[in-house]
Amino acid sequence: MSTITFTLNNSQVTVDAPPMTRLLDLLREHLHLTGTKEGCGEGECGSCSVLLNGELVNSCLVPTLQVQGATVTTIEGLGEHTHLHPIQQCFLEEGGAQCGICTPGMILATHHLLEKHPAPTLDEIREGLSGNLCRCTGYMRIFEAVQQTAKLAEAGK
């Protein structure tokens, strides 16, 4: 066991866990934040995506030992039920979510993408979200949700 302290969604947390516990399990099992989903468990699907020090990573491949002192943002840190993040709002309005398993990861990947490319081309969207698989939507609605978010951000400036 080791004691790990890090910043999770803007608050400081301290947890006791074996150092090789996956960040995914730390979030879901120890901290009861179940917004982060497990799909493949081996880096293929992106449904477990979170932001680690602002960078998009697969939490199924991050051992807890690498989280000590870091900043982690999960889907719970992006918006709230009563006050959705614009990306969440656009996914909802454009039909970018169906069963919802891929959605938290897609939204964090979108967040990461829009930070690097505030007005992404379709190719940049395809590439930026290529680490996130979706079995429901066929992706087109997701791409539209991303474009819509970028458009709103541009208009709001």
Binding site: M20, N58, Q66, H112, G131
Partner: protein
């Protein structure tokens, strides 16, 4: 996953000292360094990697830098993330083939964690190697046989194969490093040494469990890329879907066109070899020639002459040739 001890080290010396206790740095190592962890954690979960001692090297200072050296070479630290290396200004300006290769590999999530040294040492994706349910795998259990030969081997290698193993080397980055004549810098128990990338990877032969030149204790500290004259470069990757998939065939090319002639030609391919595959036969066929379809085809034929396919992966021979021809055509016209 088995139980193991974990140590976080702050210096290369400490890392080397702990790792010296492993009887081998190859399959079966009892001490492993952990860098990004995207490969090691995966294989530990599958019980293919069973280290008793993990050494976290992420806190060693200075291993995450990209620096131009006085002699014009580029020094790339072992812990530079693949995503950072792909965007490094020096790489974009002088070694774009490396940037293209990195960006064609894995996903944003993985590149943000994957490191230079971890990418160099990533294990094969052979499905039988990954799955302990199959007893036959000479790479995992020497002498047990090879389930891929006679099994499913559409993705397997056609160059450098042996009767014991036909596993493909999976990296994109390393194919670019082959044409850039990268040098790998290692700190070991007997001091520091350098290994040219062309001598780093071992052919499977009768010992597929031995993959590279590393000895117990060896820590990769950095990689250097020699200075290059101005060249045209390309990395072209062909795969089953347009993104986020390992290569079926890929080509890395560095060359100059001077007075209508090809000079300084370097060619390597990924997805087809048991190690990242440099192609001196193709380079020889191209050097000094005027670019053109016939010359390109002759080079591709020469490079694939020694290919040894099995039933499901014979398609890789024409695919690899077309990949090389298309890469050559694109880069000479660029």
């Amino acid at each position: 996953m088995i139980d193991f001890e974990l140590t976080r080290v702050g210096t290369p010396d400490a890392a080397v000292q702990i790792a010296a206790a492993t009887p081998t740095a190859q399959q079966g190592a009892t001490v492993r360094f952990i860098a990004g962890g995207t490969n090691l954690i995966d294989y530990m979960k599958l019980d293919v990697e069973t280290p008793q001692h993990l050494v976290d090297i992420n806190r060693i200072p200075d291993l995450a830098k990209v620096e131009k050296q006085p002699d014009g070479s580029l020094k790339i630290g072992a812990l530079v993330r693949n995503s950072d290396l792909a965007q490094a200004p020096e790489v974009l300006a002088e070694y774009p083939v490396l940037s293209q290769a990195l960006l064609s590999g894995a996903s944003a999530q993985l590149r943000n964690k994957a490191t230079t040294s971890g990418n160099l040492l990533q294990r094969t994706r052979c499905p039988y190697f990954r799955d302990l349910a199959y007893a036959e795998c000479n790479k995992r259990t020497p002498g047990s046989g090879c389930a891929a030969i006679g099994g499913y081997h559409r993705n397997h290698a056609i160059l450098g194969v042996s009767d014991q193993c036909i596993a493909t080397h999976a990296s994109d980055m390393d194919v670019a490093l082959m044409v850039l004549d990268a040098v790998i810098h290692v700190q070991g128990i007997k001091g520091n040494r350098t290994i040219p990338i062309g001598e780093f990877y071992k052919l499977p032969g009768t010992t597929p469990h031995i993959e590279n030149a590393l000895e117990p204790g060896d820590l990769i500290t950095h990689v250097t890329l020699p200075a290059l004259p101005e060249t045209k470069q390309i990395y072209l990757k062909l795969r089953d879907r347009a993104s986020y998939e390992f290569a079926l065939a890929s080509a890395a090319i560095v060359m100059q066109v001077q007075g209508g002639r090809l000079r300084h030609v370097r060619v390597a391919m990924g997805g087809v070899g048991t190690r990242p595959w440099r192609m001196p036969e193709a380079e020889h066929a191209l050097e000094g020639q005027a670019p053109g379809e016939g010359v390109f085809r002759a080079a591709a034929d020469a490079a694939l002459k020694t290919a040894r396919p099995h039933t499901d992966n014979a398609f890789k021979i024409p695919l690899a040739k077309l990949c090389m021809i298309r890469a050559l055509t694109t880069v000479t016209n660029a």
